[in-house]
């Protein structure tokens, strides 16, 4: 099954969220595991709620892949990364790269929740002259480490930042999220070969394994399986987990660098459109824009999630 693409925006100015989005901030120091997970869950819910309304207002976005990656983004920025607004110029900050740049709205909302960008700016998403472009640009937003959008760029750049960290003897780590369809790009496998051969234990690749790409299932397009075996063959320490489980995600991120000295590859099993019943695991929602009624229905489901 395939979907017809139509990325011609229909802007809904009347639906631009007017009320302030609040900075949620990091999991407090000394929080228990349960408290940390509760904090992340609440944050992810808020980020999803804002994200879907931004996409509705802009008339453009990639809601499916945004909702599949939000738990990963929120766990990284609000908990696992040694990175905060005060650390932006610090050479020893952890690096994060969203290689699947089409999930930009999810990144911006998470960055606002983490205090990196002014929450008021979220209402300018994709508007003329906005810094919040349809794909993240490092020249527009200080916290964005790499400009992405064309798939297959983030992982090679992450390998470079990891090599630089190793050369500097820095304890900093580099995390990069790729789409699973994105793993069809050869550049990723070239980069993985380099990462394995350089023993980049400070690198963590997270594959957002939602099993869907733009027009169809990954398996029906050009299959990736056996993905974990392939990653292992390229010298990765492979972890498979539920990419919507904040506890599993933070445990896995805390394990980087792996004791084996290998780069870590996390295959995060996710659902596109999670957790919205009518979007979840549905290829039609790659970049479909929700109607006002669908936004309301999704917000109701989110409240109950």
């Amino acid at each position: 099954m395939t979907v017809e693409e139509d990325l011609v925006p229909e802007v809904h100015v009347e639906d631009v969220p007017q009320e302030a989005f609040t900075v949620i901030g990091r999991v407090p120091e000394g929080a228990t595991r349960e408290e940390a997970i509760a904090h992340l869950r609440a944050a992810a819910r808020a980020v999803r709620g804002r994200d879907i309304r931004m996409v509705r207002a802009a008339g453009l976005g990639h809601i499916g892949g945004e909702f599949s990656v939000i738990d990963i983004l929120v766990t990284l920025y609000l908990d696992s990364l040694h990175m905060g607004p005060e650390l932006l110029g610090d050479p020893d900050r952890d690096r994060f790269i969203l290689s699947k740049g089409h999930a930009a709205a999810a990144l911006y909302t998470t960055l606002a929740a983490a205090g990196f960008i002014d929450p008021d700016d979220l209402s300018t998403f994709m508007q003329p002259m906005s810094q919040l472009n349809g794909h993240p640009a490092r020249t527009k937003i200080a916290a964005v480490e790499a400009s992405t959008g064309p798939l297959g760029h983030g992982l090679p750049i992450a390998v470079g930042t990891a090599i630089a960290g190793k050369l500097d003897g820095s304890a900093r780590r580099t995390f990069v999220v790729t789409g699973d369809g994105e793993m069809q790009e050869g550049s990723n496998w070239e980069a993985l070969m380099t990462a394995g051969n350089h023993g980049l234990a400070n690198l963590c690749v997270i594959v957002d394994r939602n099993r869907l790409q733009q027009g169809a299932r990954v398996a029906d397009t050009n299959d990736l399986e056996p993905l974990p075996d392939k990653l292992r063959a390229f010298g990765m320490e492979v972890i498979e987990l539920d990419g919507h489980d904040h506890g599993a995600l933070r445990d896995a991120f805390a394990n980087v660098p792996a004791a084996s000295g290998k780069p870590t590859a996390i295959v995060a099993h996710t659902m596109k459109g999670h957790p919205i019943s009518f979007m979840s695991d549905n290829v039609a929602w790659h970049h479909k824009v929700p109607s006002a009624e669908q936004v309301e229905a999704a917000l109701t489901e989110l409240e109950q999630s």
Partner: protein, 314 residues
Amino acid sequence: MTATAEKKLHDCRDAWVETLVELGQADPRIVAVVNDSVGSSKLGPFQSEFPERLINVGIAEQDMVGVGAGLANGGKIPFVSAASCFLTARAMEQIKVDAAYSEHHMVLVGQSPGMAYGELGPTHHSIEDLAWLRAIPNLTVVVPSDPEETRQAVRWAAQHDGPVFIRVSRMGVPDVNPAGYEFAPGKAVTLREGSDVTLIATGTVVSRALDAAELLASRGVSARVLSMPTISPLDKDAILAAAAETKGIVTVEEALTSGLGGAVAELVVQHQPVPMRFVGVTGFAPTGEVGWLLDHFGISATGIAEAASEIVGA
């Protein structure tokens, strides 16, 4: 503001896929190669009718163009179709070596070019493609301006024994060519006679050049409008005649001005130097929707008319 505003606008991808399906029905050698771009190339109807003849390599553009060359070697006529930004930027060496240097009969179809993806940003704009591709020897570069020209270019490429790039617009364009129009590769089309200045435009923005000519006429300036559907090879005779017969040339394109503008300038400066102005994209775009961006870069009737006025001193 402009006459274009009232005309019916077409997404040229519709003409492209209709024609490809027709060609596919007549010739089993016709195949399509895509990068998860069935939807963005509007290839659904071709896929339904010829599921086996649509090869989707996934998100892998270098592979896509290489596979296309292999299919050509195997006696097929491949139409390799993807968003122009990824097709050209990502697979440039495959285009150079596997298509052009190897002189394979294959057709590269750059979809939704220029700034059609608007607010998705410069990563998704294909403004460099004309400059890049005209630099490659052996490659015919065709930029249709309306659905009829798209149809004819696709048909021509299917039977032309060599590599061709066709830029297919999805940004709405009106019909600009006269009834009974016949596309001839390498030939300019005179859409409007004029004696003071010449506007040479290509693709999506030919209609804007026509609007500019109208605006200029209201100010007493007679502008010739040449549509240039083939960027490489160029119609040298039409350009040099325009340089000889009018005071100067304004080039108009939805691309970096090193595309059509650079090509025309290289010719004119050697054989018939005249004043020139270049209307087109001049840098990475800020965030904005395509119509807003075209105006931002002055690729509008008023922007083009202003450039022409500088030449004629009106």
